[in-house]
Symmetry: C2
DNA sequence: CTGTTAGCGCGTTCAT
DNA sequence: ATGAACGCGCTAACAG
Protein backbone atom coordinates (compact mmCIF):
# COMPACT_ATOMS: atom_id res chain seq x y z
CA UNK A 1 0.00 0.00 0.00
CA UNK A 2 1.46 3.26 -1.10
CA UNK A 3 2.53 5.09 2.01
CA UNK A 4 -0.33 7.42 2.53
CA UNK A 5 1.53 10.32 4.03
CA UNK A 6 0.27 13.78 4.43
CA UNK A 7 0.74 15.57 1.12
CA UNK A 8 1.17 19.06 2.47
CA UNK A 9 2.04 19.39 6.11
CA UNK A 10 2.41 22.19 8.54
CA UNK A 11 6.05 22.16 7.61
CA UNK A 12 5.39 23.06 4.02
CA UNK A 13 3.17 25.89 5.08
CA UNK A 14 5.87 27.16 7.40
CA UNK A 15 8.40 27.14 4.60
CA UNK A 16 6.02 28.81 2.19
CA UNK A 17 5.26 31.53 4.69
CA UNK A 18 8.81 31.76 5.90
CA UNK A 19 7.99 31.18 9.56
CA UNK A 20 8.42 28.44 12.09
CA UNK A 21 6.12 25.49 12.53
CA UNK A 22 4.83 26.82 15.80
CA UNK A 23 3.64 30.01 14.28
CA UNK A 24 1.63 28.06 11.77
CA UNK A 25 0.29 25.88 14.53
CA UNK A 26 -0.75 28.96 16.43
CA UNK A 27 -2.58 30.36 13.50
CA UNK A 28 -4.34 27.08 12.97
CA UNK A 29 -5.43 26.96 16.55
CA UNK A 30 -6.41 30.55 16.45
CA UNK A 31 -4.18 31.58 19.29
CA UNK A 32 -4.00 35.19 20.26
CA UNK A 33 -0.31 35.95 20.31
CA UNK A 34 0.33 36.25 16.62
CA UNK A 35 0.86 39.50 14.81
CA UNK A 36 -1.92 40.21 12.34
CA UNK A 37 0.49 40.40 9.46
CA UNK A 38 1.99 37.05 10.32
CA UNK A 39 -1.44 35.64 10.67
CA UNK A 40 -2.36 36.83 7.22
CA UNK A 41 0.82 35.60 5.69
CA UNK A 42 0.43 32.16 7.17
CA UNK A 43 -3.22 31.98 6.30
CA UNK A 44 -2.58 32.81 2.69
CA UNK A 45 0.09 30.16 2.58
CA UNK A 46 -2.39 27.69 3.98
CA UNK A 47 -4.95 28.57 1.37
CA UNK A 48 -2.43 28.55 -1.39
CA UNK A 49 -1.20 25.10 -0.52
CA UNK A 50 -4.60 23.85 0.43
CA UNK A 51 -3.32 22.67 3.75
CA UNK A 52 -5.59 20.86 6.17
CA UNK A 53 -4.34 19.49 9.46
CA UNK A 54 -4.33 15.75 9.98
CA UNK A 55 -6.63 14.87 12.82
CA UNK A 56 -4.50 11.83 13.51
CA UNK A 57 -1.45 13.96 14.04
CA UNK A 58 -3.39 16.52 16.00
CA UNK A 59 -4.64 13.87 18.29
CA UNK A 60 -1.19 12.37 18.64
CA UNK A 61 0.18 15.51 20.15
CA UNK A 62 -2.43 15.52 22.81
CA UNK A 63 -5.06 17.76 21.38
CA UNK A 64 -8.61 16.98 20.47
CA UNK A 65 -9.54 14.17 18.15
CA UNK A 66 -12.39 16.11 16.60
CA UNK A 67 -14.44 12.99 16.77
CA UNK A 68 -17.75 12.33 18.45
CA UNK A 69 -18.76 8.75 19.03
CA UNK A 70 -22.39 7.71 18.74
CA UNK A 71 -23.48 4.44 20.29
CA UNK A 72 -26.35 2.56 18.78
CA UNK A 73 -27.90 -0.77 19.54
CA UNK A 74 -26.47 -3.33 17.15
CA UNK A 75 -29.29 -5.83 16.95
CA UNK A 76 -31.90 -3.23 16.56
CA UNK A 77 -29.89 -1.48 13.91
CA UNK A 78 -29.30 -4.61 11.92
CA UNK A 79 -32.90 -5.66 12.25
CA UNK A 80 -34.10 -2.33 10.96
CA UNK A 81 -31.70 -2.54 8.12
CA UNK A 82 -32.86 -5.95 7.03
CA UNK A 83 -36.47 -4.88 7.25
CA UNK A 84 -35.58 -1.87 5.15
CA UNK A 85 -37.61 0.33 7.39
CA UNK A 86 -34.99 2.18 9.27
CA UNK A 87 -36.68 5.54 9.06
CA UNK A 88 -35.88 5.32 12.70
CA UNK A 89 -32.59 6.16 14.29
CA UNK A 90 -30.60 7.28 11.37
CA UNK A 91 -32.75 10.13 10.27
CA UNK A 92 -33.64 11.54 13.59
CA UNK A 93 -30.59 10.89 15.56
CA UNK A 94 -27.68 10.57 13.24
CA UNK A 95 -28.23 13.25 10.72
CA UNK A 96 -28.90 15.85 13.30
CA UNK A 97 -25.78 15.13 15.21
CA UNK A 98 -23.82 14.66 12.06
CA UNK A 99 -24.78 18.05 10.78
CA UNK A 100 -23.83 19.73 14.01
CA UNK A 101 -20.51 17.99 13.94
CA UNK A 102 -19.81 18.92 10.37
CA UNK A 103 -20.58 22.53 11.09
CA UNK A 104 -17.87 22.56 13.67
CA UNK A 105 -15.14 20.61 12.05
CA UNK A 106 -16.05 17.47 13.92
CA UNK A 107 -16.92 14.03 12.67
CA UNK A 108 -19.55 11.66 13.95
CA UNK A 109 -18.69 8.00 14.06
CA UNK A 110 -21.37 5.47 14.77
CA UNK A 111 -20.55 2.40 16.77
CA UNK A 112 -22.90 -0.52 17.13
CA UNK A 113 -22.91 -2.35 20.42
CA UNK A 114 -25.00 -4.90 22.23
CA UNK A 115 -26.39 -3.44 25.38
CA UNK A 116 -27.53 -6.68 26.86
CA UNK A 117 -24.26 -8.36 26.16
CA UNK A 118 -21.87 -8.69 29.09
CA UNK A 119 -18.94 -7.19 27.30
CA UNK A 120 -20.58 -3.88 26.65
CA UNK A 121 -17.84 -2.35 28.67
CA UNK A 122 -15.15 -4.03 26.67
CA UNK A 123 -16.70 -2.92 23.44
CA UNK A 124 -17.04 0.61 24.63
CA UNK A 125 -13.56 0.67 26.08
CA UNK A 126 -12.18 -0.63 22.83
CA UNK A 127 -13.96 1.97 20.77
CA UNK A 128 -12.78 4.72 23.04
CA UNK A 129 -9.21 3.49 23.03
CA UNK A 130 -9.19 3.24 19.27
CA UNK A 131 -10.99 6.45 18.44
CA UNK A 132 -10.36 8.56 21.50
CA UNK A 133 -13.43 10.68 20.89
CA UNK A 134 -13.95 14.06 22.45
CA UNK A 135 -17.48 13.17 23.35
CA UNK A 136 -20.04 10.39 23.21
CA UNK A 137 -23.72 10.31 22.38
CA UNK A 138 -25.88 7.57 23.82
CA UNK A 139 -29.13 6.45 22.27
CA UNK A 140 -31.66 4.11 23.86
CA UNK A 141 -31.27 1.63 25.31
CA UNK A 142 -27.72 2.65 26.08
CA UNK A 143 -28.74 5.93 27.60
CA UNK A 144 -29.64 4.32 30.86
CA UNK A 145 -27.10 1.57 30.99
CA UNK A 146 -25.11 2.21 34.15
CA UNK A 147 -22.18 0.21 32.85
CA UNK A 148 -21.87 2.61 29.99
CA UNK A 149 -22.58 5.86 31.76
CA UNK A 150 -20.38 4.74 34.59
CA UNK A 151 -17.42 4.04 32.38
CA UNK A 152 -17.83 7.31 30.58
CA UNK A 153 -18.12 9.29 33.76
CA UNK A 154 -15.13 7.53 35.20
CA UNK A 155 -13.02 8.42 32.22
CA UNK A 156 -14.17 11.97 32.28
CA UNK A 157 -15.55 11.77 28.80
CA UNK A 158 -18.39 14.18 28.11
CA UNK A 159 -21.50 12.41 26.97
CA UNK A 160 -25.14 13.00 26.27
CA UNK A 161 -28.00 10.63 26.89
CA UNK A 162 -30.79 10.81 24.38
CA UNK A 163 -34.24 9.72 25.34
CA UNK A 164 -33.49 9.42 28.99
CA UNK A 165 -35.09 11.24 31.83
CA UNK A 166 -33.25 9.73 34.71
CA UNK A 167 -30.69 11.88 36.39
CA UNK A 168 -27.09 10.95 36.69
CA UNK A 169 -23.83 11.68 34.97
CA UNK A 170 -23.80 13.21 31.58
CA UNK A 171 -26.31 15.39 29.89
CA UNK A 172 -29.81 14.02 29.52
CA UNK A 173 -31.95 14.98 26.57
CA UNK A 174 -35.56 13.90 26.65
CA UNK A 175 -36.94 15.42 23.54
CA UNK A 176 -37.69 12.84 20.95
CA UNK A 177 -37.90 15.17 18.05
CA UNK A 178 -35.33 15.13 15.34
CA UNK A 179 -33.33 17.78 17.09
CA UNK A 180 -32.23 15.69 20.02
CA UNK A 181 -28.98 14.47 18.61
CA UNK A 182 -28.26 17.84 17.21
CA UNK A 183 -28.58 19.42 20.59
CA UNK A 184 -26.66 16.66 22.22
CA UNK A 185 -23.84 17.22 19.82
CA UNK A 186 -23.83 20.92 20.37
CA UNK A 187 -23.67 20.40 24.08
CA UNK A 188 -20.70 18.18 23.68
CA UNK A 189 -18.93 20.54 21.38
CA UNK A 190 -19.72 23.47 23.59
CA UNK A 191 -18.11 21.67 26.44
CA UNK A 192 -15.05 21.04 24.39
CA UNK A 193 -14.78 24.70 23.71
CA UNK A 194 -14.41 25.25 27.36
CA UNK A 195 -11.68 22.89 28.34
CA UNK A 196 -13.87 20.60 30.29
CA UNK A 197 -13.11 18.34 33.10
CA UNK A 198 -16.58 18.34 34.47
CA UNK A 199 -18.93 15.41 34.70
CA UNK A 200 -18.85 14.95 38.37
CA UNK A 201 -22.43 15.58 39.15
CA UNK A 202 -25.61 17.01 37.70
CA UNK A 203 -24.47 19.64 35.29
CA UNK A 204 -26.34 22.61 34.08
CA UNK A 205 -25.11 23.98 30.84
CA UNK A 206 -26.72 26.54 28.73
CA UNK A 207 -26.83 25.83 25.08
CA UNK A 208 -28.11 29.28 24.29
CA UNK A 209 -24.86 31.10 24.55
CA UNK A 210 -23.17 28.68 22.26
CA UNK A 211 -21.86 29.88 19.01
CA UNK A 212 -20.39 27.89 16.22
CA UNK A 213 -17.07 28.10 14.56
CA UNK A 214 -14.92 25.16 13.80
CA UNK A 215 -11.61 24.64 15.32
CA UNK A 216 -11.16 27.58 17.55
CA UNK A 217 -11.04 27.49 21.25
CA UNK A 218 -11.13 30.12 23.86
CA UNK A 219 -9.81 29.24 27.20
CA UNK A 220 -11.95 31.30 29.45
CA UNK A 221 -15.48 30.74 30.61
CA UNK A 222 -15.63 27.69 32.75
CA UNK A 223 -18.87 25.87 32.39
CA UNK A 224 -21.47 26.98 34.85
CA UNK A 225 -21.36 23.64 36.55
CA UNK A 226 -22.83 23.69 39.97
CA UNK A 227 -24.13 20.58 41.53
CA UNK B 1 -8.78 19.70 28.68
CA UNK B 2 -7.42 16.74 30.50
CA UNK B 3 -4.82 15.31 28.23
CA UNK B 4 -6.57 12.42 26.71
CA UNK B 5 -3.65 10.12 26.32
CA UNK B 6 -3.80 6.48 25.65
CA UNK B 7 -4.32 4.71 28.93
CA UNK B 8 -2.55 1.50 28.08
CA UNK B 9 -0.18 1.58 25.16
CA UNK B 10 1.78 -0.91 23.20
CA UNK B 11 4.62 -0.10 25.52
CA UNK B 12 2.79 -1.36 28.56
CA UNK B 13 1.91 -4.53 26.77
CA UNK B 14 5.51 -5.04 25.77
CA UNK B 15 6.64 -4.62 29.36
CA UNK B 16 3.93 -6.91 30.66
CA UNK B 17 4.88 -9.57 28.16
CA UNK B 18 8.58 -8.94 28.43
CA UNK B 19 9.15 -8.39 24.74
CA UNK B 20 9.92 -5.52 22.43
CA UNK B 21 7.39 -3.10 21.07
CA UNK B 22 7.89 -4.46 17.63
CA UNK B 23 6.88 -7.93 18.64
CA UNK B 24 3.69 -6.61 20.10
CA UNK B 25 3.08 -4.67 16.96
CA UNK B 26 3.59 -7.77 14.92
CA UNK B 27 1.10 -9.70 16.95
CA UNK B 28 -1.39 -6.90 16.63
CA UNK B 29 -1.00 -6.84 12.89
CA UNK B 30 -1.17 -10.55 12.75
CA UNK B 31 2.16 -10.95 11.04
CA UNK B 32 3.44 -14.38 10.34
CA UNK B 33 6.90 -14.28 11.75
CA UNK B 34 6.16 -14.69 15.41
CA UNK B 35 6.65 -17.80 17.40
CA UNK B 36 3.37 -19.24 18.64
CA UNK B 37 4.44 -19.04 22.24
CA UNK B 38 5.40 -15.40 21.90
CA UNK B 39 2.13 -14.75 20.18
CA UNK B 40 0.24 -16.29 23.02
CA UNK B 41 2.22 -14.47 25.65
CA UNK B 42 1.70 -11.14 24.00
CA UNK B 43 -1.93 -11.81 23.33
CA UNK B 44 -2.62 -12.69 26.92
CA UNK B 45 -0.88 -9.51 27.99
CA UNK B 46 -3.09 -7.59 25.60
CA UNK B 47 -6.21 -9.16 26.98
CA UNK B 48 -5.11 -8.73 30.53
CA UNK B 49 -4.44 -5.04 30.09
CA UNK B 50 -7.35 -4.55 27.76
CA UNK B 51 -5.13 -2.94 25.21
CA UNK B 52 -6.51 -1.60 21.96
CA UNK B 53 -4.34 0.20 19.41
CA UNK B 54 -4.98 3.83 18.73
CA UNK B 55 -5.91 4.31 15.13
CA UNK B 56 -4.47 7.79 15.27
CA UNK B 57 -1.09 6.43 16.22
CA UNK B 58 -1.33 3.62 13.74
CA UNK B 59 -2.03 6.05 11.01
CA UNK B 60 0.80 8.29 12.14
CA UNK B 61 3.34 5.63 11.50
CA UNK B 62 2.24 5.21 7.96
CA UNK B 63 -0.06 2.27 8.27
CA UNK B 64 -3.73 2.12 7.52
CA UNK B 65 -6.17 4.53 9.05
CA UNK B 66 -8.88 1.91 9.29
CA UNK B 67 -11.30 4.48 8.04
CA UNK B 68 -13.56 4.45 5.02
CA UNK B 69 -15.02 7.71 3.86
CA UNK B 70 -18.52 7.84 2.41
CA UNK B 71 -19.54 10.84 0.38
CA UNK B 72 -23.14 11.87 0.34
CA UNK B 73 -24.93 14.78 -1.21
CA UNK B 74 -25.41 17.44 1.41
CA UNK B 75 -28.54 19.18 0.19
CA UNK B 76 -30.34 15.98 -0.49
CA UNK B 77 -29.35 14.63 2.88
CA UNK B 78 -30.51 17.66 4.75
CA UNK B 79 -33.72 17.82 2.79
CA UNK B 80 -34.50 14.22 3.59
CA UNK B 81 -33.74 14.82 7.18
CA UNK B 82 -36.07 17.77 7.44
CA UNK B 83 -38.81 15.85 5.69
CA UNK B 84 -38.27 13.03 8.14
CA UNK B 85 -38.44 10.56 5.34
CA UNK B 86 -34.89 9.53 4.97
CA UNK B 87 -35.63 5.89 4.51
CA UNK B 88 -33.34 6.59 1.65
CA UNK B 89 -29.60 6.69 1.79
CA UNK B 90 -28.93 5.81 5.33
CA UNK B 91 -30.65 2.51 5.43
CA UNK B 92 -29.60 1.14 2.15
CA UNK B 93 -26.22 2.60 1.78
CA UNK B 94 -24.84 3.50 5.13
CA UNK B 95 -25.83 0.65 7.30
CA UNK B 96 -24.63 -1.91 4.86
CA UNK B 97 -21.24 -0.36 4.51
CA UNK B 98 -21.09 0.38 8.16
CA UNK B 99 -21.69 -3.21 9.07
CA UNK B 100 -19.03 -4.44 6.72
CA UNK B 101 -16.61 -1.98 8.16
CA UNK B 102 -17.40 -2.92 11.70
CA UNK B 103 -16.89 -6.56 10.95
CA UNK B 104 -13.38 -5.78 9.88
CA UNK B 105 -12.25 -3.32 12.43
CA UNK B 106 -12.92 -0.40 10.15
CA UNK B 107 -15.03 2.67 10.66
CA UNK B 108 -17.27 4.41 8.19
CA UNK B 109 -17.34 8.16 8.28
CA UNK B 110 -19.93 10.02 6.31
CA UNK B 111 -19.07 13.30 4.71
CA UNK B 112 -21.64 15.57 3.19
CA UNK B 113 -20.60 17.55 0.15
CA UNK B 114 -22.22 19.64 -2.53
CA UNK B 115 -21.65 18.08 -5.88
CA UNK B 116 -22.80 21.04 -7.87
CA UNK B 117 -20.68 23.40 -5.88
CA UNK B 118 -17.41 24.49 -7.45
CA UNK B 119 -15.29 23.62 -4.49
CA UNK B 120 -16.19 19.99 -4.43
CA UNK B 121 -12.56 19.27 -4.95
CA UNK B 122 -11.52 21.43 -2.04
CA UNK B 123 -14.04 19.79 0.21
CA UNK B 124 -12.96 16.35 -0.79
CA UNK B 125 -9.30 17.21 -0.55
CA UNK B 126 -9.85 18.62 2.90
CA UNK B 127 -11.69 15.55 4.09
CA UNK B 128 -9.00 13.29 2.73
CA UNK B 129 -6.23 15.32 4.25
CA UNK B 130 -7.92 15.35 7.62
CA UNK B 131 -9.08 11.76 7.72
CA UNK B 132 -6.69 10.02 5.36
CA UNK B 133 -9.11 7.21 4.68
CA UNK B 134 -8.08 3.90 3.24
CA UNK B 135 -10.94 3.98 0.80
CA UNK B 136 -13.87 6.05 -0.36
CA UNK B 137 -17.42 5.21 -1.27
CA UNK B 138 -19.31 7.43 -3.67
CA UNK B 139 -23.07 7.66 -3.80
CA UNK B 140 -25.09 9.41 -6.48
CA UNK B 141 -24.68 11.99 -7.74
CA UNK B 142 -21.04 11.90 -6.78
CA UNK B 143 -20.46 8.55 -8.40
CA UNK B 144 -20.16 10.11 -11.81
CA UNK B 145 -18.59 13.38 -10.94
CA UNK B 146 -15.30 13.43 -12.83
CA UNK B 147 -13.83 15.99 -10.48
CA UNK B 148 -14.27 13.57 -7.65
CA UNK B 149 -13.30 10.36 -9.36
CA UNK B 150 -10.41 12.15 -10.98
CA UNK B 151 -9.02 13.39 -7.71
CA UNK B 152 -9.40 10.02 -6.11
CA UNK B 153 -7.74 8.21 -8.98
CA UNK B 154 -4.95 10.72 -9.04
CA UNK B 155 -4.24 10.17 -5.37
CA UNK B 156 -4.36 6.46 -5.74
CA UNK B 157 -7.15 6.12 -3.26
CA UNK B 158 -9.33 3.06 -3.77
CA UNK B 159 -12.95 3.97 -4.25
CA UNK B 160 -16.26 2.47 -5.22
CA UNK B 161 -19.01 4.14 -7.18
CA UNK B 162 -22.48 3.15 -6.18
CA UNK B 163 -25.29 3.44 -8.65
CA UNK B 164 -23.08 4.11 -11.58
CA UNK B 165 -22.71 2.12 -14.73
CA UNK B 166 -20.20 4.21 -16.54
CA UNK B 167 -16.73 2.82 -16.78
CA UNK B 168 -13.71 4.57 -15.48
CA UNK B 169 -11.53 4.55 -12.44
CA UNK B 170 -12.65 2.89 -9.31
CA UNK B 171 -15.06 0.07 -8.80
CA UNK B 172 -18.55 0.52 -10.14
CA UNK B 173 -21.49 -1.08 -8.40
CA UNK B 174 -24.82 -0.91 -10.14
CA UNK B 175 -27.02 -2.94 -7.93
CA UNK B 176 -29.42 -0.79 -6.05
CA UNK B 177 -30.32 -3.28 -3.45
CA UNK B 178 -29.38 -2.78 0.12
CA UNK B 179 -26.21 -4.72 -0.39
CA UNK B 180 -24.49 -2.22 -2.62
CA UNK B 181 -22.64 -0.32 0.00
CA UNK B 182 -21.81 -3.47 1.78
CA UNK B 183 -20.23 -4.91 -1.27
CA UNK B 184 -18.50 -1.69 -2.06
CA UNK B 185 -17.01 -1.72 1.38
CA UNK B 186 -15.88 -5.25 1.11
CA UNK B 187 -14.22 -4.54 -2.16
CA UNK B 188 -12.35 -1.68 -0.62
CA UNK B 189 -11.29 -3.68 2.35
CA UNK B 190 -10.32 -6.60 0.20
CA UNK B 191 -8.09 -4.31 -1.76
CA UNK B 192 -6.47 -3.09 1.38
CA UNK B 193 -5.69 -6.63 2.34
CA UNK B 194 -3.71 -6.94 -0.77
CA UNK B 195 -1.47 -3.97 -0.59
CA UNK B 196 -2.98 -2.31 -3.55
CA UNK B 197 -1.61 0.27 -5.81
CA UNK B 198 -4.09 -0.39 -8.54
CA UNK B 199 -6.61 2.02 -9.89
CA UNK B 200 -4.94 2.56 -13.14
CA UNK B 201 -7.43 0.86 -15.30
CA UNK B 202 -10.29 -1.56 -15.17
CA UNK B 203 -9.68 -3.66 -12.12
CA UNK B 204 -10.89 -7.14 -11.60
CA UNK B 205 -10.90 -8.37 -8.09
CA UNK B 206 -12.73 -11.29 -6.75
CA UNK B 207 -14.61 -10.73 -3.62
CA UNK B 208 -15.13 -14.42 -3.18
CA UNK B 209 -11.76 -15.28 -1.83
CA UNK B 210 -12.03 -12.62 0.77
CA UNK B 211 -11.88 -13.40 4.40
CA UNK B 212 -11.67 -11.55 7.62
CA UNK B 213 -8.52 -10.02 8.95
CA UNK B 214 -6.92 -10.50 12.30
CA UNK B 215 -8.74 -7.85 14.21
CA UNK B 216 -12.09 -8.87 12.88
CA UNK B 217 -14.50 -10.70 15.04
CA UNK B 218 -16.40 -13.28 13.17
CA UNK B 219 -19.91 -12.11 13.17
CA UNK B 220 -22.91 -13.86 11.75
CA UNK B 221 -23.12 -14.43 8.06
CA UNK B 222 -23.47 -11.43 5.86
CA UNK B 223 -26.57 -11.13 3.69
CA UNK B 224 -26.51 -12.62 0.25
CA UNK B 225 -24.14 -10.87 -2.00
CA UNK B 226 -23.24 -12.09 -5.38
CA UNK B 227 -20.52 -10.55 -7.42
C1' DC C 1 12.51 -14.77 14.36
C1' DT C 2 13.20 -10.67 17.44
C1' DG C 3 15.11 -6.31 19.05
C1' DT C 4 16.91 -1.51 17.77
C1' DT C 5 16.71 2.84 15.40
C1' DA C 6 14.07 6.36 13.04
C1' DG C 7 10.72 9.07 12.18
C1' DC C 8 5.22 10.21 10.88
C1' DG C 9 2.67 15.45 11.76
C1' DC C 10 1.58 18.20 15.20
C1' DG C 11 1.13 20.49 19.99
C1' DT C 12 3.77 21.66 23.80
C1' DT C 13 6.98 23.18 27.14
C1' DC C 14 10.87 26.09 27.53
C1' DA C 15 14.21 29.53 25.52
C1' DT C 16 14.83 33.81 22.88
C1' DA D 1 5.94 37.53 19.85
C1' DT D 2 8.70 33.61 17.66
C1' DG D 3 11.57 29.65 17.39
C1' DA D 4 13.94 25.11 18.81
C1' DA D 5 13.54 20.77 20.91
C1' DC D 6 11.10 17.01 22.64
C1' DG D 7 7.40 13.52 22.92
C1' DC D 8 2.77 11.20 21.68
C1' DG D 9 1.83 5.74 20.09
C1' DC D 10 2.95 3.12 16.54
C1' DT D 11 5.13 0.88 12.41
C1' DA D 12 8.93 0.43 8.91
C1' DA D 13 13.21 -0.30 7.72
C1' DC D 14 17.47 -2.42 9.20
C1' DA D 15 20.44 -5.05 12.23
C1' DG D 16 21.48 -9.49 15.06
Amino acid sequence: MARRKQAVTIKHVAAEAGVSLQTVSRVINNEASVRPEMKVRVQSAIDKLGYVPSIAAQRMSGSRSYIILALNDRDRTIADWRARQGTDWVDQMLLGGMLSCAENGYRLIIELVDTHNDHVERELAAAIAALQPDGVILTPPHSDNPLITGLLAKRQIPFARIGSRSTGDGIALTMDDEGAAQQATQHLLALGHRSIGFIAGPADYQLSGWRGHGRSRDEHGRPACHG
